[in-house]
């Protein structure tokens, strides 16, 4: 048994709980989703168990990925919580090659969470961990376990131990309220980061996941803020005359690319967050906006209508003429790189429908992923396999291969938009 020590500092301060709670439904799963048996974990104490059930969170995570089909609890032939209790012969008669068992017990001020993943056919353990965690980190530990199981069985990194940021809007006119909120990828643990009577836009995570940059129209002007999530402290980093928008963190977290109209029209600039030095990158009477960094920090893609309608261009940070990348459809915007830099996800407009599309930068093939018509704001998961986006008043997610679809609904009343998927939690 391997031991992993997690030292999770207060990565989320408990602010006012969010009114809106996300619920996520799979609307389309993978054919041949892998059956997996997850036995409810033992609670090894006489005191009341924690409110969060680790095995339930893991089961929901794996099911939500669309690639696993957890067996219903009532169909489990036995409920072992230790390896010695497992009767592999019995499990071989059940339609599941994989079995997860575990337990949670109090320790110090927190818990020790242990789990083991077995290959029932071979009667062997695949992975097993014992994780000491602070009591406030129990949910996050469950997501970390989902990632470990997901990676062990698919060979790909999971994205369960990460977060999403999004904007909610309620009411209209003088009663309008806008909120920037963050939540776990299963929609739980929602927290409000900013509340405003004026619109908030374009939330974006710092590479270390500790801060969010966003655009606020408070005070009847646009400005860009950088806010520390744990402390709630924020600083205004861009408030030039005219438009301040579309912040994007450099991969090393030291700079923001952004769009400013202070010199006559929307152009792309780089702002050094340390010394506040500003460098202009584009020089064109067209609208240039929505910069997004390549993972190696050497180039940007951005939206420009220099050719008539918005299209995606790429430019090296060293200068040079931006190169147009998109030739599919009449309108392309909101582009960002996959974590492995092989693809761009973007908003693609064609014949009046606005859909999420992926451009493979190697093959130059564009694939449209959605079949709705008013989509916007796509954002890659940190494992590059899912894309979250906004459609109508809700959020939705689709896998890059199009096989898995999810709809994320908010409790009644709020419109949800502008999702941003965080980097993997540290």
């Amino acid at each position: 048994m391997r031991h992993i020590l997690f030292s999770l500092l207060g990565w989320l301060m408990l602010t006012a709980p969010a009114q809106a709670i996300l619920t996520i439904d799979i609307t389309q799963g993978v054919e041949g989703a892998l059956p997996i048996a997850i036995v409810p974990f033992a609670w090894q104490a006489t005191s009341a168990p924690p409110a969060d059930s680790v095995s339930e969170i893991v089961s929901n995570d794996l099911a939500r990925s669309g690639r696993f089909a957890p067996l219903p609890t009532q169909s489990l032939p036995q409920q072992p919580t230790e390896i010695g209790q497992i009767d592999f012969n019995t499990w071989r008669t059940v339609d599941s090659r994989y079995l997860v068992i575990g337990g949670v017990q109090p320790a110090g001020g927190g818990y020790v969470v242990r789990f083991q993943l077995f290959d029932v056919l071979r009667g062997e353990q695949i992975i097993g961990y014992s994780l000491p965690v602070e009591s406030s980190a129990l949910r996050r530990t469950a997501h970390r376990i989902s990632d470990l199981i997901y990676e062990a069985l698919t060979g790909e990194p999971g994205a369960f131990d990460s977060r999403i940021a999004y904007i909610t809007a309620q009411g209209r006119g003088k009663s309008a309220v806008y909120r920037l909120q963050i939540a776990d990828t299963d929609g739980a643990g929602g927290k409000t980061i900013v509340t405003s009577k004026e619109p908030l836009l374009s939330p974006t995570w710092s590479p270390d996941g500790a801060r969010l940059a966003y655009v606020s129209l408070e005070g009847k002007r646009s400005a860009i803020y950088v806010q520390d999530i744990a402390s709630g402290q924020r600083s205004q980093v861009a408030a030039w005359p005219g438009l301040n928008g579309a912040p994007a963190w450099s991969p090393d977290g030291s700079r923001l690319a952004l769009s400013l109209s202070k010199d006559g029209n929307s152009e792309i600039y780089l702002l050094n967050l340390g010394n506040r030095n500003l460098q202009r990158l584009t020089q064109n009477p067209a609208i240039d906006t929505e910069p997004s960094w390549a993972p190696d920090g050497q180039s940007l893609v951005f939206t420009s209508d220099r050719g008539g309608q918005p299209q995606i261009y790429r430019m090296g940070l060293g200068g040079g003429t931006p190169q147009r990348l998109t030739y599919s459809g009449s309108y392309n915007a909101s582009a960002s790189f996959s974590p492995d830099a092989s693809k761009l996800v973007m908003l693609n407009g064609n014949g009046g429908a606005y859909r999420i599309a992926v451009l493979d930068l190697v093959t130059n093939q564009t694939t449209v992923l959605t079949n709705t018509s008013m989509d916007e704001s796509p954002s890659f998961a940190p494992n590059g396999s899912m894309v979250i986006y906004a459609v109508g008043r809700d959020l939705a997610a689709v896998s890059v291969d199009g096989r898995v679809r999810q709809r994320l609904a908010v409790e009644a009343g709020a419109e949800v938009r502008e999702p941003a998927w965080s980097p993997r939690n540290r």
Binding site: R172, P199, L201, S202, V215, L217, K220, R221, S222, G242, L243, G245, A246, S259, S261, N265, S266, P285, A286, I287, T289, E290, T303, D305, R306, G307, G308, Q309, P310, Y331, A333, S334, L347, G349, Y354, M374, E376, S377, R417, E418
Partner: protein
């Protein structure tokens, strides 16, 4: 008698709606023009004589919304009279300031729509500047698609959302 007034009112409303919001297909030439910095593109056609012809007034003109075609920021010919009236007001009230609030319809990227709203507000400011209103008295603010005037998801709502609102609330 009342029926005739009602009919006249309906006809008048219809006529106004028709003249303000024509169904026009997107003109590819227009789209290309905006791509090459056409804040002043709409200003060279048509006469500007109307602005001088208006009597100077101490009343803020009632019509405070200027509408735009899809994905462009050119000031449409049928919208000039609205801006002319505000130009006259601002020229006759030298202490007055105004804020031009630009908007876009909901289609497409939010950030691109912020830039489009800003460009529309700047186009209106340039127009006022040519009328003699110094740009230092005119602020611009874009709301992009964030504050629609009409909540529907079709052309009839979208054309009401592509607009610049002329706001004087910053004045005492």
């Amino acid at each position: 008698m009342r029926k005739i007034y009602l009919l006249a009112a309906v006809l008048a409303l219809t006529a106004t709606a028709c003249s303000r919001t024509p169904e026009k297909p997107v003109d590819p030439n227009q789209a290309t023009q905006t791509g090459t910095g056409s804040d002043t593109a709409g200003l060279n056609n048509g006469s500007m004589g109307d602005a001088q012809g208006l009597a100077g007034d101490r009343t803020i003109p009632a019509d405070r919304v200027v509408y735009f075609d899809y994905d462009v920021s050119d000031i449409r010919n049928d919208q000039r009279a609205i801006l002319d009236a505000h130009g006259a007001y601002l020229n006759n009230n030298r202490n007055a300031r105004t804020r031009l609030e630009g908007h876009a319809d909901e289609r497409g990227s939010r950030e691109y729509n912020m830039a489009l709203g800003e460009r529309r507000a700047q186009a209106a400011r340039s127009y006022l500047n040519i009328l003699g209103v110094d740009s230092s008295r005119v602020d611009t603010l874009s709301y992009g698609e964030e504050k629609p005037a009409a909540a529907g998801h079709d052309d009839s709502s979208w054309q009401l959302n592509r607009r610049v609102e002329i706001d004087y609330s910053g004045n005492r």
